[in-house]
Amino acid sequence: MKHKKLISLLLALTMVLALAACSNTDEPAETPAETPAETTPVETPAETTPAEGVDLTILYEQDDSMLNTYSLLAVNPDAPFVDADGNAVSDVYINVEGAAALINWMLSQEALDLAANYGYEEYGEYLFYVLDDAPVSTAEIPAATEDTATIRMSTTTSVNDSGLLGYLLPFFEDEYGYTVEVTSAGTGAAIANATYGNADLLLVHSKSQEENFVAGGYSYVLDGLDAERLPFLYNYFVLCGPSDDPAGVKEAASVTDAFALIAEGEYPFVSRGDASGTHTKEISLWPAELGITTEADSVADYTGWYNYSNAGMGVCLTMAEELHAYILSDKATYLTFRANNGVME
């Protein structure tokens, strides 16, 4: 019994020592002064010196093929749900009213304005932009009732990790009395979660996967809106890499050229490898002759430089930092990642 105490104390002490040893690397966070240009593709300006704690730098961004569109989808209560054995399941509980209320609120002018301004104060850059043709809803939003108060939203790690929902949802919850339960995973898993009847609505960013979801009958058109899939926000994917840029992607004419340069020189690259929206985007940017798909087999020949990691965005960014590798990230998560490696206020 005596030595049990001693062991616990020793463990705690070891942990403290380890912390003291490894927390000396904090560096001041850099605040990028640049405001994003609206139309012309720009590369990161040379004067943006990365924080010493983080070498990973944005090397290529705001190319039209790097658009990252976020959509809302209501889950259809009458969708052809099936259980694990493929048998039809009819009485799946979906909070239809709650999901409709939240979608109508997210598409209200108030919420769109909030989303558009999110992150500017903290990061000096806009993290999300509102699509010009985003559907705007003026529908009356009913207050929560006992049956509709809990809304289950399945979303992607990038939306959750960037803090957007943590910022937006309290406005909605406080005004109308709902509670939104957010679960986050890569887009593939987030959508699968909804097909298993565990979500009332989706907020995801992979057009092809969303269209499959709609085609499968899992979504439906809400009153007053004209489509199942409701694209409303966008930002850009960014190609990040070591600040010395050994592949020279900064000089590339297009992002596909940049990816070709990385593949040609076999420079280390970290892939999400989790069928997320980011992963789907990434595989569309590689030269077609490499034959890279979302399946792990397709990159078996490239293991020398291509890291198929099967992890969330933040983990992959950390991995890329460690490996001095290139990586495709959504901008919001990258900026959060960089800020968190500096001194947190």
Binding site: M1, K4, K5, S8, L9, L11, A12, M15, V16, L19, A20, S23, N24, D26, F81, V82, D83, A84, V89, D91, V92, Y93, I94, R152, T157, D161, G166, E181, V182, T183, S184, Y196, G197, N198, G312, M313, G314, V315, L317, T318, T333, T336, F337, N340, N341, V343, M344
Partner: protein
């Protein structure tokens, strides 16, 4: 410059609402799951050691196999059973603390059984001897055996609680790590790590360890009182 340790101390002192919620959810999950496992596992474990019957060896081996059940497999099983299209969907337990407790009970009970069984197995011959000397019946012999294992119950409980508080695979799968609802210490550490916020992750780790230390000290004290 703030170290993780300073941040941990500061987090605790500031009474951060989110942190308090995470700790409270962790305890709301860990205490019931470890206690239920103990209540189920201790009698079963002692009984398994006490009785002898055909197929007992097979049961022991089965239990030892279940002791090694990977948490993610257990999580997946519960997910499939309780998800929106699963056979138990009407309970509406997906992403709730009760389902996290169920998953953990499935994980921890075999550990409690195995631990009690191997201890009770060792002392059973001596207890039987004593009981025979005192002329006790079968029922009272069993009670004697149970009372002889009481010291072991404490360390078994600690083992169960440690497993419960440290487990991440199953609870993240069936709990969904929903903020203010099912986000426990381990899933919160995962979240912070995913965001590249290692300092806060480590700070939570320090707090987790401190909680474990407090519990261990408390149980050690009770155990000490009892053995005197």
């Amino acid at each position: 410059m703030r170290t993780a340790l300073e941040q941990a101390v500061q987090l605790v002192l500031s009474g951060d609402y989110q942190l308090i919620n995470i700790i409270s959810v962790t305890l709301q999950m860990s205490i019931p799951s470890s206690v239920i496992s103990l209540i189920l596992g201790v009698p079963l474990g002692v009984l398994l050691a006490f009785c002898s019957f055909r197929g007992k060896g097979a049961l022991v081996i089965l239990n030892r196999t279940l002791m090694g059940l990977p948490p993610v497999v257990c999580g997946l099983l519960c997910y499939m059973l309780f998800s929106g299209v699963g056979p138990f969907r009407h309970f509406r337990l997906m992403y709730t603390i009760p389902l996290m407790i169920i998953a953990q009970v499935i994980l921890i009970t075999p550990i409690v059984i195995g631990n009690m069984e191997s201890f009770a197995q060792r002392i059973t011959p001596a207890v039987r001897e004593t009981a025979r000397g005192l002329g006790l019946g079968r029922g009272r012999t069993f009670l004697l055996l149970v009372s002889e294992t009481r010291y072991q119950v404490f360390s078994t409980y600690l083992l169960g609680f440690a497993r419960s508080i440290a487990e991440v695979g199953a609870v993240s799968m069936v709990g969904g790590a929903i903020a203010y609802k099912t986000n426990v210490m381990t899933t919160a550490i995962m979240n912070y790590t995913n965001r590249g916020d290692f300092t806060l992750g480590v700070a939570l780790g320090v707090i987790l360890l401190a909680m474990s230390l407090v519990l261990n000290l408390t149980v050690s004290l009770i155990q000490g009182r009892l053995s005197r």
